[in-house]
Structure formats: C-alpha cells, structure tokens
C-alpha cells in the first residue's frame, strides 16, 4: 500500500493565499493517514502566517496570510516534517456508532438497492450495518462524512432524478459510496434509512462528534426505537 504515497509531496499554488499539497492520488487509508498526521502537525506547530489547514482524501490545503508567508516557506516547513512523520501517530481512531432505522418511510430506496443487487432487504441491511467504515474527510455540507468501505454487493447508481429535499439524518448510497446527510438538502443518493441522531450542532463546542480518521458503524434500530429517540423534538 505504501507505493500509493508519492516519494515527495507535490505542491500546487492556489491563488494568492492557498497551497495545495498532494501526497498521492488515490483513495487509500494509509495515504489518508499521512494527510491527517501532517494536518495535525501543522496545527500543533503552525508555520508563521498559517490561517487554516484543511485535510482531504489524499491532499491538504494550507490557507495563509500573503503578508506573512509564501509557498516556498510553507513548502520548506512541510518538507521538514517528512522526517518526523514516522515517529508521530495521528490521534487514536475512535469508533462511532450511528443508530439507523432502515427502510420504512425513512429509507424509501432500500428496495431499489436490494433489487438492483439481487439481495433481500434484510441482507442489504445486514451488509450495510456489519461493515466498519473509515471517515476519510468531511465536507460538501457541514458534518457530511465521506466514508470508505462500502461492500461491493451494495454499490448502486444515484437516482436518475435527484430529490429536491433529502431529510436531515438520511443514510444513502451513491455508486461505491455511502454517507449520511447531516442537514436537509437536495440530493440524488439512494436513501436506505435515517438516523435519529443530530450529527451537526453549531452551538456545541465540537459541532460534529466524529472526525476524519474515526471509524463509523451503523447499528440497525426499529421504527419504534427511532420514534422514541426523536420524541419531544426532532433529533436527539
């Protein structure tokens, strides 16, 4: 797996205040771990002028103040980190469990995913909830996790016509990806269930309770349990 990582990071200027740093070009857990480790080092020991570091699948972006820094000095800083990387481990991965009520009114496309893959609905739910997923990155909307590890037997194309509103908490599949919509938004993913958890709460100290690098599991709950958990409010 190591060969998916470039021997030297590749640097690309992004306008007058961004530097994109690529460590490889694939979606790979080892590569992603390197990205997260570098991002963490940049936060604990920031180079002068750094405003923000944004890690993604295989690259990260530094946003800097052009009055205080420039790409050559940031590149120098990142190169100097290379030797230290082996001795540093990223924050220990946690496993977060997301309760999901599959099917019913919460997963209108569960039957579509099952039929397209010649599975029963029970088997579809079992395959989806037995896997452990890696959170590669968050984005698209606040708290939206890009997950790796969807069973090949569940891959299903997007809906031909996207829905204008996908309810908050919906769990969906699009091709080889699975994810959760933390906020109500338009979307074309096949919806197989919904979580009663509130995944994004801007008022909290930590607005999202999972991070890139964490593992995520889905735990099936019944419709009654879902309704109990949402009683007296939208989401818990």
């Amino acid at each position: 797996m190591e060969n998916t990582i470039y021997s030297e990071p590749r640097f690309r200027a992004v306008g007058d205040r961004g530097l994109l740093v690529e460590y490889g070009d694939s979606i790979d857990p080892v590569l992603n771990r390197k990205v997260r480790t570098v991002a963490q080092l940049c936060r604990t020991d920031p180079p002068p002028g750094l405003i923000e570091v944004v890690p993604a699948y295989r690259s990260l972006q530094l946003i800097y103040d052009p009055l205080q820094s420039d790409p050559p000095s940031l590149e120098g800083h990142l190169r100097s980190l290379e030797d230290r990387l082996d001795s540093i481990s990223p924050p220990p991965a946690r496993t977060v469990t997301i309760p999901v009520c599959y099917g019913h009114e919460f997963g209108p496309d569960l039957s579509v995913v099952a039929e397209r893959n010649a599975l029963s609905q029970e088997e579809t739910v079992r395959l989806h909830s037995q896997a452990e997923y890696l959170i590669y990155m968050l984005g698209f909307t606040p708290g939206f996790p890009f997950l790796g590890g969807l069973d090949k037997r569940l891959h299903t194309p997007r809906r031909e016509t996207p829905r204008t509103t996908v309810p908050e908490g919906s769990v969906g599949i699009a091709n080889g990806q699975t994810g959760i919509y933390p906020l109500s938004s338009p979307g074309g993913w096949q919806l197989i269930g919904r979580t009663p958890l509130r995944l994004f709460d801007p008022e909290q100290e930590e607005p999202v309770f999972y991070k890139p690098g964490d593992n995520l599991r889905f735990a099936p709950i019944s419709r009654d349990e879902y309704l109990q958990l949402t009683e007296g409010g939208d989401h818990v």
Partner: protein, 319 residues
Amino acid sequence: MSDLLLVLKPGSYTTIQDLGRYGYQDIGVPVSGAVDQFAARSANVLLGNPESAAVLECTVIGPTLAVLREADLAVTGADMEIRLNSKTIPAWSSFRVEPGDFLRLKQVKSGCRTYLAVSGGFDVPLVMGSRSTCVTGGFGGIQGRSLRKGDFLPAVGGPLLSNEQALPSELIPAAKQDDLLLRVVAGPQDHLFSRGLETFLGSPYRISARADRMGYRLEGPIIRRDPEAEQSIVSEPSLPGNVQVPADGQPIILLVEQTVGGYTKIATVISPDLSRLAQALPGQEIRFQTVSLEEARLAYQENEKHIQRLRETLTEPRN
C-alpha cells in the same frame, strides 16, 4: 446588546456577514463572510469599528429599516440609492440616525452588493468564531437565514463619531465595471488544460443567471481538458476564487459557501479581485489574465495599502 434596527422590508437577499469563519473547513463548515471584503472593511473603517465587525450584506434590492436608537451608519459597495426619511444620503460616508428614522436602500443602479455597517457592529452571537450567516448550514447571523420582515437587529453600540466621515472619490472603487478583467494564478490543475488554458484566457465569459454566494456559473467557449485527463479528481479542498471546469467545459468561479469539490480547477482568482467580482451581475462579461505568484502578492499588498490609506484619510482614526 440592544436592538438598533427593525426590518420592515428585507430586500431581495440580505444577510449578516463579517470577514468569515476560519478553522472549521475540516468539518465541512465553509468560510462564508462578506463576498466584497473591501467594501465590508471600508464600511467599518468609516465608523471606527474593527474591520471584522459584522455588517449587513444587501444584494440587488436593499432592505427598509426602522431605527430604534441613535447610532452612526455607513453604506459602501454597489451604487444603491440610500434614503434616510426623505433625504438622499451619499454612500462611502458616515451618517447619524435617530430613533424613529426610516432607512431605505433601494435597487442597485450599478454593482450587486452593498454593505451597511453600524456603530460597534451587529451583535449576533459568535458561532464557531464568526457572526457570518451560513444559510446552507442554518447558523450564524439571524437564525442562520436571510433577513425577514419583523427581525430585530441588535448592535454593539459604542461612542458616536464627533463628525461625519467621508472617503474621497479617488479612493472609492468604481461601481460600474464595463470591462471586468480578473487576475488569476494558474492552477491548481492547469497542467490538465494544456490547450484549454488558451481558450480560458483568450475568450470573454458571461456571468449566467446561476450566480450566488456559492459560486458564479459562466457561459462562453468550451474549455477542453487534455484527452488523457480524467473528468473529475479525488475530492479536495476548495478555495474562494477557484475556477472549476465541470464536464460541460463551462467554468464556475467558486465563492464562499463551499469547502470541497471534485472538479478540476484551471485557475484561481486572486483575493483582491474577488471583491470586484462580487459587484458583477448576471450578463456581465469577464476576461481573465494570469499573473505570477509574485504579482499576486504585490496586488494583495496594494489592496492592504488601499485600506490603510482609507484609514489615514479619515479625520477620526480610532484603530
């Protein structure tokens, strides 16, 4: 914190913004903030506020507001008629308001966005370090949405100016921009457009009707990716000013409400020029010109010097 203004008419799209929310893009929270940072900062400088104080960003048609207490205000940005009761007020200058006054920002004559600053700034709660409204996330500003009739707008308040402040015309950017030339730094994926870059730099592009704080979709000659280049890339962080080229070859300039994307980016508009783009309306033609990183840095410095000159011009500098 006490209410300064009551919204009688919200205008077409009015939100509270500051200079943006940094440090949360790793959880998918975009920077938001004023699209025309120059105008927002200038409005605050006029009142002696910190540049990052929260202001109103008004789009195309401004709001009508009732004044509830005494304060100084300033309007900058697009050319929009400003009426205080029956009197017309000049933009890019401070003016005093009293309880019972009515302030009306009318439809733009040229430009797209105006910024209204108030003494001390609008006092909505800080969410993740910023007062900016993020409408897609439903937080910041007033309940995470654009203004509605009946909203009360609280302000920090603070000492009033001892005399009215105005900026000399030579320091005010032109609201009307017939030839909008935006400076870009090539990349981050210009290497996938060895021929397409020529098309992009050599042709005018028109701003389509799909233009908002998320991004401006442009229409013009199709920008072709190199034959061996893949249509999309592994999703990566985006930056305001990125010029994305999706499959149809029609570029999109990303603005402030997005954190990641999977389309290739041929070039990135430099930040001082985003303030000029913020004033462009659908139908406007744009041309692009590449600059080196060093030229981009000088342009950034020049923009900061411009703000510094505004501050020095004022008779009552407070910060």
